[in-house]
């Protein structure tokens, strides 16, 4: 009995559509745009099906597809979906059409642009569903390529200076990760994430590393650490983890709006997902060993980027730093989840709360940041390329709906309860505080500064007197309102009924929390 390969469909349909766009709509940007929109909605059907048939009560992998690829190297084409990946798949499904809609008025785009976006979409699905390192890495790398070209060709003034470091930096990280995984493969003979997690849990990996790399037991700890840091580098650059984040502001600022939306909404989630899928299950021990350092890095990311955002005068750069800040909470949660927990009562619940929080935070950051970047894109279009903090003022008078929806997104981003941002932050804080109190307390500074710069942005751009030259500032058109509507609605829905999302994640995180809390007590 072979079942329908839904996950493969999810990956390959956008690929095929991208190919079709690249072949047939190369010149006609307008038609390509429409086609791309329709095409990018096709995976939504598959996603709908997946959501409908996803057994939320089960913690394991579902919809698994497993085919041999290179049997001699244990490379399998293996896809699966669990509570961690499903929200990200949903997020991708939402964001890609949104990104296309967000830059609907963009004139420079053509068929290849949209083909790259669709290609990126397919690869994102691949990263979020692959269960074997080899295909996972392929998707990972292939998602880098369209992102690079999208920035390099369609970006703003400084696109070259932004795109090249982005590419090289992530590439270096990936190379390190690849080496680490090769070492892992040589020592334990598998690329399968599920099996690797099993080995990581039972502590086999350390032994295997020195046994198979011909090293002495004394070195084994060092080798595990080295391998760990290789993988860490790969995913950390993508998230990004402080101090590997410096490619991000330039890349986000220079990329066209729709690409920024995807970069922040979906691509950065690849990194966090990597942490969740690779590092936490496979190397919990090493994380625990380096816990203070890693937490300090995450915390530094949260605080420094928040303050850096406060300093920025360019709205896009400001939001870029805000992205680093928000994902910092995710990393904080992930690291804290590996903390030594024997003195914490009910540690499993706290870890589960943290992991739930991480996924919810990823999802809600994806939505809020996408919405904010979209607004900044619209501001840029309307302002004739201006997007400085000081260039505007009083726009709320001219465009109340614009301001209202921007405000909703901003408040969602700064974690106002009742909107989506709060749920993730609350869960992360709840878990992290119980596990590592100082980290949670330190991170509150980030919350404060986030509010400060977002409100400053509101004040500078939308409040105050309306300059004469912006008096004709157009409010959101019906099209733009409809574009924004689903995201705004999602912000409220997740804020009010978080169970819809948490319910998907919880069994998975509960299982992981249980074995993390029992690890080497």
């Amino acid at each position: 009995m072979t079942q329908t390969p839904w996950l493969s469909l999810l990956i390959f349909v956008p690929w095929v559509m991208a190919l079709g766009l690249a072949c047939f709509y190369r010149k006609d940007g307008d038609a390509a745009k429409k086609a791309a929109l329709v095409f990018s909605l096709l995976p939504a059907l598959v996603t709908l099906f997946l959501v409908g048939h996803f057994d939320a009560a089960r913690a394991g992998m579902q919809f698994v597809e497993r085919h041999d690829w290179i049997p001699s190297l244990a490379v399998e084409y293996c896809l699966g979906l669990d509570g961690f990946s499903l929200p990200l798949v949903i997020l991708t499904t939402i964001l890609v059409p949104f990104a296309i809609l967000a830059s609907w008025q963009e004139k420079k785009t053509d068929g290849v642009f949209y083909a790259l976006i669709l290609f990126l979409q397919g690869n994102l699905y691949g990263v979020f569903t692959a269960l074997n390192f080899f295909p996972w890495f392929l998707f990972w790398e292939m998602s880098l390529i369209p992102a690079f070209f999208l920035i390099r060709i369609w970006g703003g003034q400084g696109r070259i200076a932004a795109a090249t470091p982005f590419f090289i930096y992530t590439m270096l990280g990936s190379a390190a990760m690849l080496l680490s995984f090769l070492a892992l493969y040589i020592s334990v003979g598998t690329f399968d994430f599920v099996k690797l997690a099993e080995l990581g849990r039972t502590g086999v990996i350390e032994g295997a590393l020195y046994a198979n790399l011909g090293l002495t037991p004394a070195d084994s700890n060092m080798w595990v650490t080295l391998v760990f840091f290789g993988v860490l580098l790969g995913v950390a650059v993508k998230v990004p983890l402080f101090p590997f984040h410096s490619w991000l502001p330039a890349a986000y600022a220079e990329a066209p709006t729709s690409v920024t939306i995807l970069l922040t909404g979906a691509l950065s989630k690849m990194g966090v997902y990597g942490f969740l899928r690779l590092l936490l299950p496979i190397f919990p021990g090493v994380i625990r060993e380096w816990l203070e350092v890693l937490l300090a890095l995450a915390l530094a990311g949260i605080i420094f980027s928040a303050f850096a955002a406060l300093f920025q005068k360019d709205l896009k750069r400001m939001l870029a730093y805000s992205s680093i800040n928000h994902l910092g909470y995710c990393l904080l949660g992930i690291f804290a989840a590996a903390a030594s927990t024997h003195e914490v009562a009910g540690a499993a619940t706290e870890i589960a709360a943290t992991l739930n929080g991480v996924v919810v935070q990823m999802f809600s950051h994806g939505i809020s940041a996408a919405a904010l970047f979209c607004f900044v894109g619209w501001i840029e279009t309307r302002g004739g390329g201006l997007r400085g903090l000081e260039d505007f003022g009083g726009l709320r008078k001219a465009a109340p709906i614009f301001c209202g929806l921007f405000g909703i997104s901003a408040f969602s981003s700064l974690g106002l309860p009742g909107l989506n941002g709060f749920i993730g932050e609350f869960l992360i804080f709840k878990g992290v505080f119980a596990l590592v109190p100082w980290a949670a307390v330190g991170a509150t500074v980030g919350l404060l500064v986030t509010a400060l710069f977002l409100l400053t942005c509101m004040e500078k751009v939308f409040h105050g007197p309306l300059p004469e030259k912006w008096e004709k500032w157009p409010d959101l058109s019906l099209f733009e309102r409809v574009t924004m509507l689903p995201l705004a609605a999602l912000m409220f829905v997740i804020g009010l009924c978080p169970q819809m999302l948490v319910g998907l994640v919880n069994p998975c995180s509960t299982r992981m929390a249980e074995w993390l809390s029992r690890l080497w007590i």
Partner: protein, 687 residues
């Protein structure tokens, strides 16, 4: 009796409807176009009236089981979402505290809504205004009934949001926009404390529900669990949690040192100041401390009966009460005077809770809500009548032209000052001072309170003198005029309540206090007679304050708009210090704000040079490698490939001569060959 219980339970189950009504109205109003002004107003007021009716029902439901019944506090909890094997639940609770607050908020809210229809009549964003107001009302009502610190926190933040939106309602004024931001940020500092306290409490007790059939965090079991490790020498979690939660209250209720936002919040429209920044929202801090009282006082066991938390609460409260009253003396903006008065009165309430007079604090909260709303609305009416002039130096002598406003304002002023016997403020203040007097750890709160009472009477008299007596000092072209009925009628209603409400909590018939603590009320003069010396003392203070004010500002009318204040001529240095609010804002600007900016620029510099340099280094290294690679490619690899291609090309031309292009010829040959093959097969040729 059973049926009564059942009714109560149903009321509790459906309690969520009360905040839901204004919330729903807010949702509808958010989508209403600007033009539908009449509809917006009627929707908002209608929702408020409806909420008021339901609140009365809830209030009635708490009256039924009141004396000595088990059912005096009912809660109902619902699951919200799962974490691990546990479920985060939220819920709502109906007890005397929430019932009183519900009735008060909805009633005052209704009055102020009605007032707003007149006050905001000319504003173009009228609809939006009512949308924000209803959002606030919904969130506030939710805050009141919530039975979970989490839900409370959510509503807490939402009222903060509404406050932000309403302070910045005239967003085109930069000062309003800045004030809105300042309000949100300042309260958020406190809120983060509350957040940390909340997660701490969660991790210690495993629940955020207040009352959960014995398992809530305010119930004995959890409190004992919190205190036990401290007894056995562990961390003193309970004090930490309580103080962190108190941080939230400090921020919201404008206590020192986070009081700075509240006077600035007066940039918002006056009804907003009345509703949010005087009557209800700022009292939420007091409410929170009152609600969390079992937790706040839980460390009492450890310190032989005196709780350090409550000590701090009392000290912060009494200090704020005096501090803000002092500042109020030297202000000239009518709304700012009232704002500092609010801060001061909130300090009173905090102090009352700290010194163990929780019922007195809540009673004062109620009376204060009425008379302060009355004062603010009165000031709104004055401002409206004086053509949006807020400076009291440019008013004067309008008692004649605005009779109703003057009369009601005078009632409010006397209630606030604590004029004896017939005004509500007197009784509630008396109760607070009485509680402070009987508090053993320190006498400071009592002394501060007494001084505060004097100052309150003084600055209110001063304001009356400036505003209503003497000659009109404003722009003579525009004579002040009385406000329309939509504004005066709420004033009258509130004035009536400002008088009457006092009799619900007099010391000879302390109904309100007994109700709050679920005891049967007893009528008797003993208490009143017993406290007579104290009463006499406080009456003397009030009389002194009013008398001094009368002497300085009324008996000798204020000179002109630009003439210096009498106090200023007497003691210019002190007056200047008070006028500049003890330079607290300047101090903050010089320290925290600057440090924050400096740290931001340092972070940005590090971004550019340190971390960015790391990236550029990596990029440079890669570029070098790439150069090496391309050189190798060009010289070694490409050379051999090109040679091979040439050979291949030369040989292919020869093979293309077999084609003549006649398709049918090919087909004929194929057909014939096929036939021959068949023939051969039939003939039996074995291949």
């Amino acid at each position: 009796m059973i049926s009564k219980t059942w009714e109560t339970l149903l009321v509790v189950k459906l309690l969520w409807i009360i905040p839901a009504i204004p919330m729903l109205a807010a949702g509808v109003l958010a989508l209403t176009p600007r033009g539908y002004r009449r509809m917006a107003a009627s929707l908002a007021i209608g929702s408020m009236v409806l909420a008021f009716l339901f609140s009365c029902l809830a209030f009635y439901a708490t009256m039924i089981p009141l004396p000595y019944s088990e059912a005096w506090r009912q809660s109902y909890n619902v699951p919200w979402f799962d974490i691990g094997h546990e479920t985060v639940r939220v819920g709502w609770v109906l007890d005397p505290l929430s019932a009183l607050m519900l009735a008060m908020v909805t009633f005052v809210g209704t009055c102020i809504f009605v007032f707003s229809t007149g006050y905001m009549a000319e504003d173009e964003n009228f609809t939006r205004f009512f949308g924000f107001l209803t959002l606030f009302a919904g969130a506030m009502l939710g805050l009141i009934i919530s039975n979970s610190l989490l839900l409370l926190f959510i509503c807490w933040e939402l009222v903060g949001l509404a406050s932000y939106l309403l302070i910045g309602f005239w967003f085109h004024k930069p000062s309003a926009a800045a004030a809105a931001k300042k309000a949100f940020m300042t309260t958020r500092i406190g809120d983060l404390g509350l957040l940390i306290g909340m997660v701490w409490l969660y991790s210690e007790t495993g629940t955020l529900l207040f009352y959960d059939g014995g398992f809530g965090c305010l119930e004995t079991k959890a409190l004992i669990g919190l205190v036990t490790p401290a007894i056995s020498g562990g961390t003193l979690a309970v004090t930490g949690i309580a103080l962190l939660i108190f941080c939230g209250a400090i921020g919201k209720s404008g206590q020192f040192p986070l009081h700075v936002w509240l006077p600035d919040a007066m940039e918002g429209p006056t009804p907003v100041s009345a509703l949010i920044h005087a009557a209800t929202m700022v009292a939420a801090g007091v409410f929170l401390v009152g609600r969390m009282l079992p937790l706040m006082g839980a460390d009492m066991i450890l310190f032989s009966g005196s709780s350090p938390t409550l000590y701090i609460v009392a000290m912060v409260g009494s200090f704020t009460a005096l501090f803000a009253a002092l500042i109020a003396v030297a202000q000239t903006d009518i709304k700012r005077i009232l704002a500092y008065s609010t801060v001061s009165q909130l300090g009173y309430m905090m102090m009352a809770i700290g010194v163990g007079g929780y019922p007195a604090a809540i009673f004062h909260l109620l009376t204060h809500a009425f008379f302060k709303a009355l004062l603010f609305l009165g000031s709104g009416s004055v401002i409206h009548g004086c053509h949006h002039e807020q400076d009291i130096r440019r008013m004067g002598g309008i008692a004649g032209s605005m009779k109703i406003t003057f009369a009601t304002y005078a009632v409010g002023m006397m209630a606030l000052s604590g004029v004896p016997f017939f005004f509500s403020g007197f009784w509630s203040k008396e109760a607070i001072l009485h509680a402070a007097l009987t508090w053993t750890p320190s006498m400071l709160p009592f002394i501060f309170g007494l001084c505060g009472a004097f100052l309150t009477a003084f600055y209110m008299t001063r304001m009356m003198g400036y505003v209503f007596f003497g000659n009109y000092r404003g722009d003579s072209c525009h004579a002040p005029h009385e406000s329309p009925a939509t504004m005066t009628v709420p004033l009258v209603i509130l004035a009536v309540f400002a008088v009457l409400l006092g009799f619900a909590g007099t010391s000879f018939w302390p109904w309100c206090q007994s109700y709050l603590t679920a005891q049967r009320v007893r009528f008797g003069w003993e208490e009143f007679l017993h406290a007579w010396p104290l009463t006499g003392g406080s009456i003397a203070m009030v009389a002194a304050g009013i008398g001094l004010g009368w002497k300085l500002y009324i008996s000798r009318p204020v000179g002109g708009a630009d003439a210096p204040d009498i106090l200023e001529t007497m003691h210019p240095k002190i007056y200047n210090c008070l006028k500049n609010k003890f330079f607290v804002d300047e101090f903050y600007a010089a320290t925290w704000v600057r440090w924050c900016g400096a740290f931001a620029s340092v972070s940005d510099w590090m971004e550019r040079f340190v971390w960015g340099g790391m990236m550029r280094g990596a990029a440079f290294f890669t570029a070098c490698l790439a150069l090496l690679n391309s050189e190798t490619d060009e010289r070694v690899v490409n050379g051999s490939f090109d040679g091979g291609c040439k050979v291949l090309k030369a040989s292919s031309g020869k093979l293309s001569l077999f084609q003549n292009g006649k398709a049918q010829r090919y087909l004929c040959v194929i057909g014939a060959a096929f036939a021959l093959l068949l023939l051969a097969l039939e003939m039996g040729v074995k291949l």
